[in-house]
Amino acid sequence: MNSKVWMVASLVIICLLSAFALSKVYLVTQPRIEKQKREAVNIALSQVLPQADSFKPVIPDTLWYGLDKNGNKVGIVIKVTPRGYGGTVETLVGLNMEKKVTGIRIASPAEGLHETPGLGLKSRNPDFRNQFKGKTATEIRLKRDGGTIDAISAATITSRAVTEGVRKGIEKYSKYLKP
């Protein structure tokens, strides 16, 4: 009997200790995690639109205005979520006032990207991403679809998802580029 009581009691004690430790760690880390996430968003935005000094959210989590030091609009950043091979491919697109792409950034696996490692995941490499720089919506199609973007070999689905997503995003949101 005594051993049965201890069996239950020891499990309860371990669970309580574990819950206590986890809640302490959570309280300490949560504010920092939130801060890191906000900073990560800002870093990501300035990666795709380096000309801007600050960003003003216009449509939450979808559209930002990029502003220079004097508060003048220098471009916009949009987030598009086309369907890739393993799920949505979250992509940030920076556009300058001439409707030209200033950079794109694809979310990392830690941020929820499910493309195949070694294939679709290569869409995060600069080789693929840098092809978009300086291009306008009409040029942004895969070469086999009559455009100027080289697909990643053996990862056409991801390449096409990103390419189509970027173009459709530009077409949909470029009206926000008016000063």
């Binding site: 051993s3 020891s10 371990i14 574990s18 900073e39 195949t116 490692p117 070694g118 070999s153």
Partner: protein
């Protein structure tokens, strides 16, 4: 337990690397090994993350092993291991976001790494703190070496790079052996490695 007259403690460490390599000899922890050895860097990330949890869990379990009732030891091990995994997840996110970008996807996978539960059950539950940490270190190094080796081989054949560095001519990288990226490639490779190890062991026995 093999009875021995007080073996040198360092043996607990060194045995994990070759003689009792968790993957190639004990054949545990195969799932994360197959799944995350696509590139050398992925393998290294998984190796480091799992090693950390393995060392922590072996330490805590050997510390409290005398008060754990044996009939419910497995649930207790699992609570301890999953608590460490969650703590690491939070701490990495809060303090090392750069590292989290690389390791983040692997952290939840550590829970199902049976090397950790296996070592808790087979070693830490029966041994002292220092021995358990040495055992964990040895198994961690053994696991990391194999997963990185597999990552190097698979990355070499499937992308023509090693740790992202280009090591093959452009022609090879244009049409690499994509097969090695996919699960069948991983199974084939681990079979080949296992057969090499078996052969070496056979020769040693003669």
């Amino acid at each position: 337990m093999i009875p021995e007259n007080r073996p040198s403690r360092l043996k607990y460490f060194t045995s994990g690397i070759i003689l009792e390599n968790p993957i190639l000899i004990l054949m545990i922890g195969l799932c994360p090994t197959l799944a995350t050895s696509v590139t050398a860097q992925d393998g290294l990330g998984m190796g480091i993350a799992a090693s950390f949890v393995l060392i922590c869990s072996n330490f805590v379990i050997s510390l409290i092993r005398k008060i754990i009732p044996s009939s419910i030891r497995i649930p207790i091990f699992i609570i301890i291991i999953s608590s460490f995994v969650t703590i690491i997840d939070y701490v990495l996110q809060a303090f090392e976001p750069g590292l989290y970008q690389v390791l983040g996807v692997f952290v939840p996978l550590i829970v199902v790494n049976c090397i950790i539960l296996g070592r808790a059950e087979a070693f830490a539950y029966h041994h002292g703190i220092i021995d358990s940490i040495l055992d964990a270190l040895g198994k961690a190094v053994g696991f990391t070496l194999v997963i990185v080796l597999m990552g190097i081989i698979r990355e070499f054949f499937s992308a023509g790079t090693i740790f992202g560095a280009i090591v093959t001519p452009a022609g090879f990288r244009q049409s690499p052996v994509l097969f090695m990226i996919f699960p069948p490639g991983a199974f084939l490779l681990i079979g080949i490695l296992k057969s090499i190890v078996n052969r070496l062991n056979e020769n040693k026995g003669k």
